[in-house]
């Protein structure tokens, strides 16, 4: 039985005449921890935008369940918080967007996240009053409050110091253990060493490698999710 949450089938993406992704075929399953790595311009962000259903491919297909878009949580390098709302409201807005309007239900969803992220004492503060690490934790809480089936993080630690970055990875890791597919785009290879999982390497819009990496850092040839890229793995 096919367990894939989302599948890219011979996907190619152009921006005007520029080729961003070429003939990529990948599939992702629940509870997977996936790093998308590669140099700048390799196509990491494009791949994430396609997986998040924010964009459509120029060729090929992105297959997933209906309504999946609302089950995707996004985390970016920029914290992108609403500056005129406090921490609690920044998280609660995601509930309302997904159709949850009951005040008590929103409170029940937001409060545990505030606790997990260490933000409980800051729920009344506004983004301008927070450090970079705190802002990113608010952004992560917002991404998680809708209980996403897919969490997509695009360079989530790019603006954080090492301690804050480690905290963000640790928090994301917890959610992978809760059946959530976590996709992390990064060009910082050291994170792929510290957090074992599947590593997909892109170069010039083509998948160069797709392999699972064990705790020790060694690759795991068997049983690892496979890419089926015509781009020349």
């Amino acid at each position: 039985m096919d367990m894939a949450l989302i599948r890219l089938d011979h996907v190619t993406k152009y921006y005007r005449d520029r080729l961003a992704l070429s003939d990529v075929s990948l599939s992702f399953e629940p509870s997977e921890w996936v790093f998308i790595t590669g140099p700048s311009g390799a196509g990491k962000s494009t791949l994430l935008r396609l997986v998040s259903l924010a964009e459509r491919p120029s060729r090929g297909r992105v297959e997933t369940e209906r309504g999946m878009r609302r089950a995707i949580g996004m985390l970016g390098q920029e914290f992108r918080l609403l500056n005129d709302r406090n921490v609690y409201e920044n998280i609660a807005i995601a509930c309302r967007i997904s159709g949850v309007w009951d005040k008590d239900e929103i409170r029940q969803r937001v409060t545990p996240l505030l606790d997990e992220m260490g933000l409980r004492s800051m729920e009344g503060l506004f983004p301008g009053q927070l450090s970079a690490g705190e802002k990113q934790r608010v952004a992560l809480a917002r991404a998680l409050v809708r209980h996403p089936r897919i969490l997509i993080a695009d360079e989530p630690t790019g603006n954080l110091d090492p301690a804050a970055a480690a905290q963000i990875f640790s928090l994301m890791r917890q959610y992978r253990d809760r059946e959530t597919l976590v996709l992390v785009a990064t060009h910082a290879e050291d994170w792929t060493q510290r957090h074992p999982g599947r590593v997909i390497r892109l170069e010039q819009g083509v998948v160069r490698s797709d392999q699972a990496r064990a705790e020790s850092g060694a690759t795991v040839p068997d049983g690892a999710p496979r890419a089926d890229s015509g781009g020349g793995i």
């Binding site: 924010a54 609403l82 005129d84």
Partner: protein, 289 residues
């Protein structure tokens, strides 16, 4: 918090954050709407005046001096047979003089006049379908041709002219209405655009979270509607003030009826909604995506 309450909260947030912009929009829109409402009030006054003139549809037919009772009866018979005549009433010289005395009221002036110079007359009331300027005029023209008639007086000419003036004013009003409509659309639309530009980051973010119409566009449509409705209400209050200040003087500007004012407010609000909708709908898509 339901969607409606969210919308109200967002509206309040926008209005309080962009106070100066909103105030400028309200003042501009009110100024434009005031021109239209004052013109409507002038038009209402002219309409009332025309209606008063139209109520003076009776025709006075003055008779030659020294007519016998038989001559008067013959004339009365011919008047009754004329097309458009509903009823006639004979006013004798004495009755005319008595009425004149009541109207003038100054005994010294009446003594200066000497004897009764007023002629006897028939007052003709047209049938309802002839109670127009054209109808009154046609009866008067027929009456002028009758024997023993010295003069015929009626208000028809004035009614006709007043009707022409009213028609012209209504046409000007319609044109003015269109210009005002475009003006309101422009002002509210420009305000909405500025509000959208000021909050583009928030809109992008909410859109990226999957927020649809309610979160990205509805707050601005509501803002346009509310700003224009507030402007309409302020316009009515200012017009009421002008009306009250003129009430003591000769020049009187009547306020339109409550129904018309409610319609004015609703139209203002809908124009605001339309203006903001056009502004949002014509935004470059890249601004919202």
């Amino acid at each position: 918090m339901g969607p409606l309450r969210y919308l109200v909260t967002e509206l309040w947030r926008t209005l309080s954050r962009h106070r100066t912009l909103c105030l400028a929009s309200i003042l501009s829109t009110s100024s434009i709407l005031l021109i239209l409402l004052l013109f409507m009030m002038v038009l209402t006054g002219v309409d009332n005046y025309t209606q008063q003139l139209e109520s003076r549809e009776e025709i006075s037919i003055f008779l030659n001096e020294g007519l016998s009772r038989a001559d008067v009866d013959v004339l009365a018979g011919r008047l009754r047979l004329m097309a458009g005549v509903d009823s006639i009433r004979f006013v004798s010289k004495d009755e005319a003089w008595d009425q004149f005395r009541i109207d003038v009221g100054d005994e010294a002036l009446l003594q200066a006049v000497g004897g009764n110079p007023l002629p006897a007359s028939f007052v003709v009331r047209p049938k309802p379908e002839y109670r127009t300027a054209e109808g009154v005029r046609s009866i008067a023209r027929q009456a002028e041709t009758l024997p023993n008639v010295e003069d015929v007086r009626y208000a028809g000419e004035w009614v006709l002219r007043a009707e022409q003036v009213t028609r012209t004013l209504h046409q000007i009003g319609a044109l003015l209405g269109i210009i005002i409509l475009i003006g309101v659309l422009f002002v509210v639309g420009a305000t909405t655009r500025l509000a959208v530009q000021a909050r583009l980051d928030s809109i992008h973010l909410i859109h990226s979270l999957g927020g649809g119409f309610l979160f990205t566009e509805a707050p601005y449509l509501a803002e346009g509607f509310v700003l224009a409705t507030i402007s309409s209400i302020i316009t009515i209050l200012v017009a009421r003030g002008i009306h009250d200040s003129l009430a003591e003087g000769l020049f009187h500007l009547p306020m339109p009826s409550t129904e018309v004012l409610l319609g004015f407010t609703a139209t203002g609000g809908l124009l605001g909604l339309l203006g903001s909708w056009i502004a949002v709908a014509t935004l470059p898509r890249k601004w919202l995506l």
